[in-house]
């Protein structure tokens, strides 16, 4: 299988520069009587991937929808790529969303469209590129997720893992500056999950995209924190033992609508908080 050409090596430090791509400021949201998020604040730095954990119903997916303006908070402010989106009109949000990509929990592929039409959806809607360029970019995006052969199939003809990978291809085709992953490995077998995680690591280390990753699977985030993408061998490899972490990976844990942890893997492992220790054990 032919892999797409990787971008030229960028001369960037292993840790991202302190430029904030996404920021939540004291954000609260309640659904009917239930307070889902209660004054949460955090930042996502440029090039960083932040894994968000929490029990079911703790508001993890809600954070992603808020970050994209699909939901509006009851209070607080959200900044993405320097724009404050909570007071933004829907028309203006459509423009901003062209620079942000999201992979939904159940893929959310358009079931009446083929894989090609799904992946090219944004390009076809924009109508700014030629048919040839669309074909080229669809092939490139599908090649990234190693699914070039599915181009004429419908989503119903794909397995769960393949659908998730097509959703990733659809998201990265326009090279968004921020990526939001909603449980990309949820319900998948370990082998397919590993393939997805490798794609996420590749996106982080090769394309330096900032990302929020919502997941139930601690091992996925730990893998991302302890592995890097080797460009020469075109595969994910573990960081050499004994070296300090050199990948831009952070963890955020939610509990009862509050953030109880926001930091790197080493800090997470040293925490004395009983709840967190039990959660990560």
């Amino acid at each position: 299988m032919v892999s797409p050409p990787l971008p030229a090596e960028q001369n960037t430090p292993p840790h991202p520069v302190s430029t904030v791509t996404l920021e939540f400021q004291d954000v609260s949201l309640a659904f009917e009587d239930k307070q889902v998020l209660d004054g949460i604040s955090f930042q996502l730095q440029l090039g960083e991937t932040k894994a968000i954990f929490g029990v079911a119903g703790s508001g993890k997916s809600t954070i992603l929808k808020l970050a994209l303006g699909l939901l509006k908070p009851d209070s607080g402010k959200i900044f993405i790529l320097g724009e404050e989106i909570t007071s933004m009109r829907e028309d203006a949000l459509y423009e901003l969303r062209r620079r942000v990509g999201i992979v939904f929990q159940e893929s959310a592929l358009f079931d009446s469209l083929t894989v090609r039409e799904n992946v090219a959806f944004r390009l076809l809607e924009e109508g700014r590129v030629t048919e040839e360029e669309i074909e080229e970019r669809v092939r490139e995006a599908l090649s990234f997720v190693e699914l070039e052969h599915t181009v004429n199939l419908y989503p119903s003809e794909l397995s769960g893992g393949m659908r998730r990978r097509v959703a990733i291809a659809r998201t990265i085709i326009t090279h968004p500056e921020v990526l939001l992953y909603d449980s990309p490995t949820g319900g998948l077998d370990p082998v397919t999950s590993n393939t997805i995680i490798e794609l996420l690591v590749k996106q982080r280390d090769v394309y330096k995209t900032s990302a929020l990753l919502v997941t139930h699977r601690l091992q996925d985030a730990f893998t991302m924190a302890t592995h890097y993408f080797d460009r020469t061998e075109n595969k994910m490899k573990p960081l050499p033992p004994g070296t300090p972490a050199t990948v831009p990976m952070c963890f955020l844990i939610l509990r009862d609508g509050h953030i109880i942890f926001d930091g790197e893997l080493t800090t997470l492992r040293q925490t004395r908080d009983e709840y967190i220790r039990e959660y990560i054990s």
Binding site: K65, L68, L70, E90, D91, Y94, E95, R97, R98, V100, G101, I102, F104, Q105, E106, A108, L109, F110, D111, F121, R122, E125, E126, R170
Partner: protein, 261 residues
């Protein structure tokens, strides 16, 4: 199954909110038609689904409704020796009333349910959110093309239904009452005046808007998985059918007030 009781004030608030949401969706669907981007491809596809797809049932229903109307009218007219008026009665009945209403109800049953279930399924599988996330306005891409194509196609379907209804009446008159078909046709044609045609063609425009906007509203507001989609589908057909019959009453009254009896 647990039955959840709801206070009358909460129930009233929900209903007012639903009307408000419907009004917003309907207004945006119309407003989007006058600004770009316009989805001509989607509009044509929907026109094909709604128009060409509904053609067989509309022709059949129109033909047999006209036939039934002729049989009922014929037996009454025969008693008074006025059988020659049968063409006029069927023609007026079909063009002013039965053609628009029967076609509207048929298309409501077929397409309001289709719209509600299709959009509802897209909501519960997050495809609508995905569309918004990909920078496309679902109102513009999904709702507006359905509204435009339903209004246009129902207009023409009603004309076809009227024609087949009058033809069905002619066949029934000739078969059961021995009325000369040419005489039937000329009286049926000559009785129609501007106000009959106006009333008969204004109704499908309103009914088309009701069918599509109600179908899309229930689809877009579907909640609660597949069960919610099923509920939305049923509600869309019931609400659009009731609205068609109610609006028909008022349009008939308005038209008679404007143009006289």
């Amino acid at each position: 199954m647990d039955i959840e009781l709801i206070s009358p004030s909460d129930w009233a608030k929900q209903k007012v909110l639903a009307v408000q949401e419907y009004a917003v969706i309907a207004a945006r669907a119309v407003g989007n038609a006058f600004t770009s981007p316009r989805y001509l491809g989607d509009t044509t596809q929907q026109a094909d689904l709604i128009g060409v797809g509904s053609l067989p049932i509309v022709i059949l229903c129109g033909f047999f409704t006209g036939g039934a109307l002729a049989q009922n009218s014929g037996s009454t007219l025969q008693r008074f020796g006025s059988l020659s008026l049968i063409g006029q009665l069927v023609s007026l009945g079909m063009v002013r009333e039965l053609g628009p209403v029967i076609t509207g109800l048929m298309v409501a049953g077929r397409n309001a349910s289709g719209m509600a279930s299709e959009l509802g399924s897209m909501v519960v599988t997050e495809q609508i959110d995905a569309m918004r996330a990909l920078g496309t306005d679902p109102m513009r891409k999904l709702v507006t093309p359905r509204v435009i194509s339903t209004v246009i196609m129902l207009f023409f379907l009603t004309i076809i239904s009227d024609a087949f209804g009058i033809a069905g009446g002619g066949v029934a008159s000739a078969l059961f009452f021995g009325v000369d078909f040419h005489q039937y046709w000329s009286t049926a044609w000559q009785i129609l005046v501007f106000q009959d045609v106006f009333m008969g063609l204004a109704k499908p425009i309103l009914f088309g808007f009701i069918i599509s906007s109600v179908g899309c509203y229930y689809g877009i507001s579907a909640r609660g998985g597949t069960q919610g989609v099923g509920r939305a589908t049923t509600q869309a057909v019931v609400a659009s059918s009731i609205l068609i019959i109610t609006v028909d009453f008022f349009v008939t009254r308005l038209s008679m007030t404007l143009f006289g009896g």
